[in-house]
Amino acid sequence: MELEVVWFVVIAFLWLGYLFLEGFDFGVGMLLPVLGRNDTERRVMINTIGPVWDGNEVWIIVAGGATFAAFPAWYAGLFSAAYLPLLFVLLALIGRGVAFEYRGKVDSQRWRRAWDKVIVIGSTVPPIGIGFVIASTVLGLPLDADGNRVGSAFAAFRWDTLLGALAVTGFSLLHGAVFIALKTDGDIRRRARRLATAILPVAILPVAAFAVLVQVRHGSEWTYVPLAVTVGAVLVAWWRIAAGREGQAFAALGVAITGTVVTLFGALFPDVLPSTLDAAHSLTVDNAASGDYTLTVMTWVAAFGTPAVLVYQGWTYWVFRKRIKTSHIPAPHTAQQVSS
């Protein structure tokens, strides 16, 4: 297989890893005020992702970096043309990351409340922004022959990219609810399960609609297969979560997002960023890629690096596999506790 194709697949995989992993921790953040009835419950929720959210977030950094190295023109075109959604993503991720670390460091209700708000906003804005960005690269942007955006700063905001934004947000919300049910115990677990069952059809609707839209516009014959897998997996997820089998429902959602990403990138291929103005201006795996030497070097790095990441990141989830309940949450542990 040609290295350009390999790297197209690697980048799709990195996006998949990102959506799957940070998807649920965005969902946990979004659901903080919904499922967390008091501070201890909110801390239970935050601590389900406490040790892992940062590692999850690296997937988007590596997705960006890999795109820069393997397809410079794709990286340059997409990041400059989808400027505003990316800016909002950045601002939100900055606030969110700091919020997790700082929230518990002052023992004050006001302080924690304030950071809770940052977590909620910081977990809601990024999936919306990332949805716009992914939808933009799949559906195209108004690019000229140089790969630069023509027209306004709002080119990435359209009804069809909005559907993509809702898709990523809806998926994250649902995925987060199932994750909380999977990683907690007691009352909050039951409520998370009920909520997931109830919101599933609504939350997953934009995912299905967006995947179908992409399939209809750009799909190939074979991309019907992952699309069908997505639909099947969603139904399985619904059935399993309603039956109280959180682990199976979580895995089924993993299959669903895999099917969706394969559909989207499968339909996109061999383009990487189509131009909505003129197909001749579209960026493709061939005209956007780095040279063979660079791709070869990067392939070796990825061939050793990626499995290692999967192993040690997987190990973290094993170390922190226990369900968390309210009785596990220690008393607030802050600098203020002891004055000296």
């Binding site: 801390r43 601590n47 406490g50 892992v52 590692g55 977030e57 950094i61 590596v62 960006g64 970096g65 890999a66 820069f68 190295a69 393997a70 410079p72 990286y75 340059a76 075109g77 990041f79 400059s80 400027y83 505003l84 990316l86 800016l87 601002l91 991720l93 900055i94 990351g97 700091v98 997790f100 670390e101 700082y102 929230r103 460091k105 140089d146 790969g147 630069n148 955006r149 306004s152 780095s290 040279g291 790095v301 690096g305 990626t306 990441v309 040690y312 973290t316 170390v319 309940k325 009785s327 596990h328 949450i329 220690p330 008393a331 542990h333 600098a335 506790q337 002891v338 004055s339 000296s340």
Partner: protein, 531 residues
């Protein structure tokens, strides 16, 4: 319009990068020091080292978070604000950046999470290994990003194919002599920050309880020693590597060398001015009075007190001959198309940046040594000047680092990728900063610049506030369990199931046991640490 976008994008890069590099040096330096402290604890079992690990580790975490979140902006803004640059150099420059993510960032973030939450869940030595994993990963990330930056100062390992640099040797890129000199220099700069930070805070803690019975005094004494010696070693590395960098700069970026001295006319031998009075950007040098050390600049440039160092005026002519006197007549360049290129960097910035870097760096090491001397043999100075000196001098290496980076990045203007003066193979691999900027609207970059700056300012205040809180709280604020455990939580402090963790983690768990009930069921034990 491109001129405005260019100015804004440069301001944003400057602000966000200098800010990011306020967090990064402390993260790198202190990570390694904390891993060292924890190693000392694991090996000796001495409680003092555990307290050091916990205290400095807590401050490290407050800072780490800020370094992580401000780092994402760094990667994204290449594409957002500098897309022409990204498109031009991505084949070469993207590789170290992607490696940094795949090799360093994953290790750093995953093992940091394990370290924060793993105190009572991992065997002691595995937990220690996590500390080394994330701290060495921070150094690895410095390596990759400096390899990328050094390529912009001195492109190697590439050839010009179809109008673009194409990588032909990753080995050359990763072993660029510019990078090999920049890495020890920058990493030593990181340790200088961590050293001043540790010395300053520990000295203040010593002074604060000077007349009292302070059970933690040994912690602060060890910290002062560790910090001061780290600072001395770091400074030695800074001097040697800096000298090496100067000599490379003289060969690779002669204009930057001239700009560091604001040297108008070529001199042989060239003197180095300690300080100047007047406007160093004056083209004829007539309004400037300098206090010179004869022939020192010649030595800095070539290791020879009699060498010739070319001045700005002569170099401008050389650059115009080699790289052209005007920007290309490309409509994409907007108002700059066909205009003359100004090859002279901002001289006041380079001249003063260079001196602030050296002066403040040296002063910082000096304060460390002075503190070591003043606290020798159990002494603690009583005057109010002592804590002021100790805490105030934390700023010195930060200022030196920022000045050094501002010098080196402003000193390569008007280039974003500086041409390699020995261009065998890399002919044509260079780029003007003005041609690197994205074709986006002014409004977008304004919004980005203002919102990021504002957010950074607010978070900066919060970070300093939190650090101050922990510093005031001392050991008790990071190990509240100790006090409670003494009051009779009882047992051997080892009820968490990981039988070999008898230290902080175990006793932490012990403290909260009484509050949360159900001590009979090990599954209901509160976590030793939770957000």
């Amino acid at each position: 319009m491109i001129v405005e976008v260019l100015e804004l994008a440069r301001w944003q890069f400057g602000i966000t990068t200098v800010y990011h590099f306020l967090m990064v040096p402390l993260t790198i330096g202190l990570s390694v020091l904390v891993a060292g402290m924890q190693t000392a604890w694991v090996r000796t079992g001495n409680e003092r080292y555990l307290k050091m690990t916990k205290f400095w580790g807590k401050l490290l975490l407050v800072n780490f978070a800020m370094g992580v979140v401000t780092g994402i902006v760094q990667e994204f803004q290449f594409g957002m604000n500098w897309s022409e640059y990204s498109r031009f150099v991505g084949d070469v420059f993207g590789a170290p950046l992607a490696m940094e993510g795949l090799v360093a960032f994953f290790v750093e973030s995953v093992f940091l999470g394990l370290w924060i939450f793993g105190w009572d869940r991992l065997p002691k030595r595995v937990h220690l290994a996590c500390a080394w994993a994330f701290s060495l990963a921070t150094v690895a990330s410095a390596y990759f990003i400096l390899a990328a930056n050094s390529w912009m100062q001195h492109p190697v390992g590439a050839e010009f194919v179809d109008g673009k640099p194409t990588m032909n040797s990753i080995w050359a890129v990763l072993t660029n002599n510019t990078a090999l000199a920049a890495i020890p220099h920058t990493v030593a700069g990181c340790f200088a920050v961590a050293a001043a930070f540790v010395v300053g805070i520990a000295a203040w803690r010593l002074w604060r309880r000077r007349g009292e019975d302070d059970e933690h005094r040994a912690v602060w004494r060890s910290s002062v020693k560790l910090g001061a010696w780290t600072g001395v070693v770091a400074f030695a590395v800074l001097v040697v590597s800096g000298d090496f960098q100067g000599k490379l700069m003289f060969q690779q970026q002669p204009m930057k060398m001239a700009a560091a001295e604001a040297l108008c006319e070529t001199e042989q031998p060239a003197s180095f001015s300690i300080i100047a009075v007047g406007d160093v950007s004056d083209a004829d040098c007539e309004s400037v009075k300098t206090f010179n050390v004869p022939a020192l600049l010649s030595f800095l440039a070539e290791g020879d007190f009699s060498s010739e160092v070319k001045g700005v005026q002569e170099l401008v002519g050389e650059y115009q001959d080699k790289y052209g006197s005007h920007y290309p007549d490309d409509p994409a360049l907007g108002e700059l198309a066909g205009k003359p290129v100004d090859y002279v960097p901002n001289l006041p910035v380079t001249y003063w940046g260079f001196r602030i870097m050296i002066g403040f760096g040296a002063l910082s090491a000096l304060v460390g040594v002075a503190t070591l001397w003043l606290t020798r043999g159990g002494r603690i100075p009583g005057g109010r000047w002592f804590p002021w000196m100790a805490l105030g001098s934390i700023a010195l290496p930060y200022i030196a680092n920022s000045a050094g980076w501002i010098f080196t990045e402003m000193g390569r203007q008007p280039f974003v990728v500086v041409p390699n003066p020995d261009p065998s193979g890399v002919d044509g691999v260079w780029m003007y900063t003005a041609m690197a900027v994205s074709r986006v609207s002014q409004g977008e970059v304004w919004l980005s610049l203002l919102s990021l700056t504002l957010l950074y300012a607010v978070l900066g205040v919060v970070e300093v506030f939190l650090m101050a809180k922990y510093v005031r709280g001392g050991i008790e604020s990071v190990m509240p369990a100790k006090a409670a455990a003494r009051l009779g939580a009882g047992g051997d402090g080892d009820q968490d199931g990981s039988g070999d963790d008898s230290g902080g983690g175990g006793s932490n768990g012990g403290s909260s046991r009484g509050q949360a009930g159900a001590p009979d069921d090990p599954d209901d034990e509160p976590l030793s640490f939770a957000y």
